[in-house]
Symmetry: C2
Subunit: 314 residues, 2 copies
């Protein structure tokens, strides 16, 4: 890369949620495409995108969106990627790059690749970035800064196409890494999918207790629980599809997690303070590593704001 | 309360970690005590507190600290409270209020109460507030603002003493609630102790995988995992003691959690997208509730900062 960001004459974004909307805003801010075309499944979303004025053109169908596009990115739940690939296949411009942003790669490659014509370059991608918000208003241009974007090009993919997509993501602030879909799915199972599953579980547990009311759970959530509610407020459709599409890797990680939880549970039951202390000391190092490489804030409590004390009246 | 914060002639803080240090700073900022005396177990901490200059006097022993104090607060791990109560009992000023800040209340009451003389008022307390940082430098005066502080006075405790402690916490910005130690321990088991246990578990799991390296876990942690590492970086001694002291309630909540996790696991294994979607939709409401009552930030991603995009060179 030579410091000059790549230009695509026409970028087509299929789907305009948190990720699609952030790509649109970042690509426009950085001048990465001469024209940005968007579509979305619901008429309401398309109307809102048109109102927002962050893309050049909003069209009604996927087929219209991809026509003459040099870069097509599917920004939709992973379960929908196969059908959309089939729908757009015959309308893709020869030489176009086709990509996605799905949190699972093995299933997406399996679902999309068979439909795509030989004359396009298929470079699956996953920006490891997000917030708990969703919908067309939730995106912002800075979302990908200092976050990793993982590319999983199938064997034999044109290296020039991979480089162009890499430069596109780098220009939006991301660091880019290439790996196989299988390894991606294992890494994300532990760094993203299992954490979401556990957060969804405990928030559900807390909501249904007989002995403690939901209102108490909400009031006293600052003891740790509130941290879990953030990712358990993520988009339900997206996450349903992730668990269905990455079943094997998630179940494997879950098996290891359950064994480890059983070990700590046994230490609590037996009153083995030494085992607990040792475990709790080891886990601090991972946090330090994450803060050191800039993947989280060093500020206490994620930098959550604290109001000022009101001086008491004398 | 009449708008004027209460005055204590002498406040003694035993222990000067995150909570003790935050009480010292907040009490001084609000003028809640004419004199603040502190001690800590380690000489290094005592020297650091003296350097910080946020209290009036640092003394070497617990017995010296409590002499003539009107309010004594133990700010130490819950496992140490019984022994310290025994040590200070004969030196407490008649009419003094003795309190603590422990995250478990049943065990603390059981450990401390038998040692305390009849001529003091024992009002156990738990401010539900904190960060992942610990040590004498980690406290700050704003920590308790808009957070709940739970008081668990034993039956027959002098109402005037409870009111004075309530006003003390309110003057530091806290909202105060009174409940039984037993109910406190159930509420905190789900809102704080189980979340910590699960976070400690998954961070340990991620650190020991054969298929994914720790360095990959750290790099790609923004997919959700990093949220868990914050509370898994909390003080190991404090948390060892919490799990030993609140064993029954934690094991009970863990039992329910495990049943719920098994249900979601079954849904994944069977490919039951509808069950997953329904669950993931319900959990959003709890997050909304927490944000609505000001127990967390409405900003996406806890308000974590995002750097600005650097405009590409043309």
């Amino acid at each position: 890369m030579n410091g000059v960001a790549p230009q695509f004459a026409r970028l087509a974004l299929i789907g305009f949620g948190l990720i699609g909307g952030s790509i649109a805003r970042a690509a426009r801010a950085q001048g990465l495409a001469a024209e940005i075309i968007t579509t979305a499944r619901s008429e309401k979303t398309r109307a809102r995108v048109a109102e927002l004025g962050v893309v050049d053109r909003v069209v009604d169908t996927n087929v219209e969106a991809v026509r003459d596009a040099d870069l097509v990115i599917l920004c939709i739940p992973v379960g929908a990627c196969g059908a959309v690939a089939q729908e757009i296949a015959a309308h893709l411009k020869p030489g176009a790059i086709v990509s996605d942003v799905g949190s699972v790669k093995g299933a997406v490659v399996k679902d999309m690749a068979p439909h795509l014509p030989k004359h396009v370059h298929f470079v699956p991608a996953h920006p490891v970035a997000g917030t708990e918000h969703s919908g067309p208003d939730s995106g912002f241009a800075e979302l990908f800064i200092n976050r990793w974007c993982i590319l999983t090009p199938p064997e034999g993919t044109d290296a020039g196409a991979v480089d162009r997509l890499r430069a596109f993501w780098a220009a939006m602030g991301a660091k880019v890494e290439v790996m196989t879909p299988e390894h991606h799915d294992l890494v994300l199972a532990i760094t993203s999918h299992l954490p979401h599953l556990i957060a969804y579980t405990i928030v559900g547990t807390a909501d249904e207790l007989a002995q403690v009311t939901s209102s108490e759970v909400i009031k006293f959530s600052a003891g740790g629980f509130r941290d879990f509610t953030r990712i358990a407020a993520s988009d339900p459709t997206m996450w349903r599809d992730v668990f269905l599409a990455n079943k094997d890797a998630v179940l494997e990680m879950l098996g290891t997690f359950n064994e480890d939880l059983a070990k700590l549970t046994r230490a609590i039951r037996r009153g083995d303070g030494e085992a607990l202390f040792d475990h709790f000391t080891r886990t601090r190092a991972i946090r330090r590593g994450i803060v050191e490489i800039g993947q989280d804030s060093a500020a206490p409590d994620f930098g959550r704001p604290h109001p000022q004390l009101q001086k008491k009246p004398d």
